[in-house]
């Protein structure tokens, strides 16, 4: 009898040790798996596609995007990504990268901006916008985020973005802050960055556009934000809306100084 108790104790001890060991090992394995994936990131394919699209004469006006002003002057791509969203004089509002690209496609190439904005992600011209965004982001890889906050509209966008970030709603009474408002949170094996402050280089706002391995899709920032809204069981703002730009301004300004790693690869 005595011996049986002893052997049970050994078994229990064995299980608890095993579990601790397995947990650590799983996290390490995931890290290893991610490092392996990062070498040969299919985002490269979208990047190459985006670069070709930028230079190609397309659309009703048979023009390229090489005169597109992303904020640093016509045709300046390098460094533009880490200063977006920003206020644009010609449209009189704050635009993020994707809205700006659609704007350029409309004014320079003659595409119908409203029609592109209605197109679901991954289809038709919207897939091209994502590829262009991937290339533009890649051109600023390693640069530090430094969103301008000089214009009143940019300051307003930050405040609006902050309120949207903390706004609770939907069937689960979730806000962005429910998951991204504290340090050290995670969903299953996904670490959740605290986006109310600078989460560090290449994390959060500095990591998108990214290639999603699980569904083989290239995801832009707007699609990423929409997915957060989807998980909140909340209707997501329309493509190119001021709400999404404002949210991006909030995240981008908070990430000031963080080095961009986009395009990255995600689970």
């Amino acid at each position: 009898m005595h011996r049986q108790v002893l052997s049970w104790a050994t078994v229990v001890l064995g299980i608890s040790c095993g579990a601790t060991w397995a947990q650590k090992s799983a996290t390490e394995s995931i890290e290893e798996y991610r490092a392996m994936l990062a070498d040969g990131n299919p985002a490269d394919l979208f990047e190459a596609k985006g670069e070709a699209l930028w230079k190609e004469k397309r659309g009703p006006k048979r023009a390229s995007l090489e005169q597109c002003n992303l904020g640093k002057g016509p045709g300046v791509v390098k460094g533009a990504f880490v200063e977006l969203p920003r206020y644009f004089d010609d449209v009189g509002r704050v635009q993020d990268l994707e809205s700006r690209l659609v704007q350029c496609m409309a004014t320079l190439q003659g595409f119908d901006a409203a029609e592109i904005s209605r197109t679901p992600f991954g289809r038709g011209e919207m897939a091209n916008v994502t590829a262009l965004a991937t290339w533009v982001a890649a051109e600023s890889k390693g640069l530090a985020f430094n969103l301008p906050q000089g214009h009143t509209q940019e300051k307003v966008a930050y405040e609006v973005g902050k309120r949207l970030f903390f706004q609770r709603g939907g069937t689960h009474d979730f806000s962005c802050a429910s998951c991204h408002g504290e340090d050290g949170k995670r969903i299953r094996l996904q670490d959740l960055p605290n986006l109310t402050k600078n989460p560090g280089d290449g994390i959060g706002f500095a990591a998108w556009p990214a290639y999603r391995v699980s569904n083989g899709q290239m995801w832009s920032m707007q699609l990423r934000l929409n997915d957060c809204y989807r998980q909140q069981r909340f209707p997501f703002p329309a493509f190119g809306s001021d709400a999404l730009s404002a949210l991006s301004v909030y995240l981008g300004v908070n990430a000031k100084g963080a080095k961009s790693a986009a395009p990255t690869i995600k689970r």
Binding site: G40, P42, D44, L45, A48, K49, V213
Partner: protein, 103 residues
């Protein structure tokens, strides 16, 4: 016309490490679309690689390979400046060849 591949070939010791990223849907033929119809299989069936025109790898692929596949292999006895060419063929008869120089 299929999108280009990305091929990197780098010397490591006496071997060249070749890393290839292919752009392909790799549809398995097992999935159904929103209206319940089966999406026809569309995937790479054959991959070949050559070093200066001499075959060094041939592989038969099926629907189990992921979308936008990544392939890495080592080539013995390669030198810097050698040309590595990779070709894939899919079940619709489409094909694509791209080349890179070993560095």
């Amino acid at each position: 016309m299929a999108d280009p591949m990305r091929i990197r070939a780098q010397m490591s010791g006496a071997n060249a490490t070749v890393r290839v990223l292919m752009s392909h849907e790799m549809e398995t033929g097992q999935r159904k679309d929103a209206s319940g119809k089966v999406i026809p299989a569309w995937h790479i069936t054959e991959v070949t690689a050559t070093l200066n025109g001499k075959p060094v790898l041939s592989a038969e692929w099926g629907p189990a390979v992921s979308k936008n596949p990544f392939l890495q292999f080592n080539v013995k006895g390669a030198k810097a400046g050698d040309k590595v060419a990779v070709t894939w063929k899919d079940n619709k008869g489409d094909t694509r060849t791209d080349e890179a120089t070993v560095s």
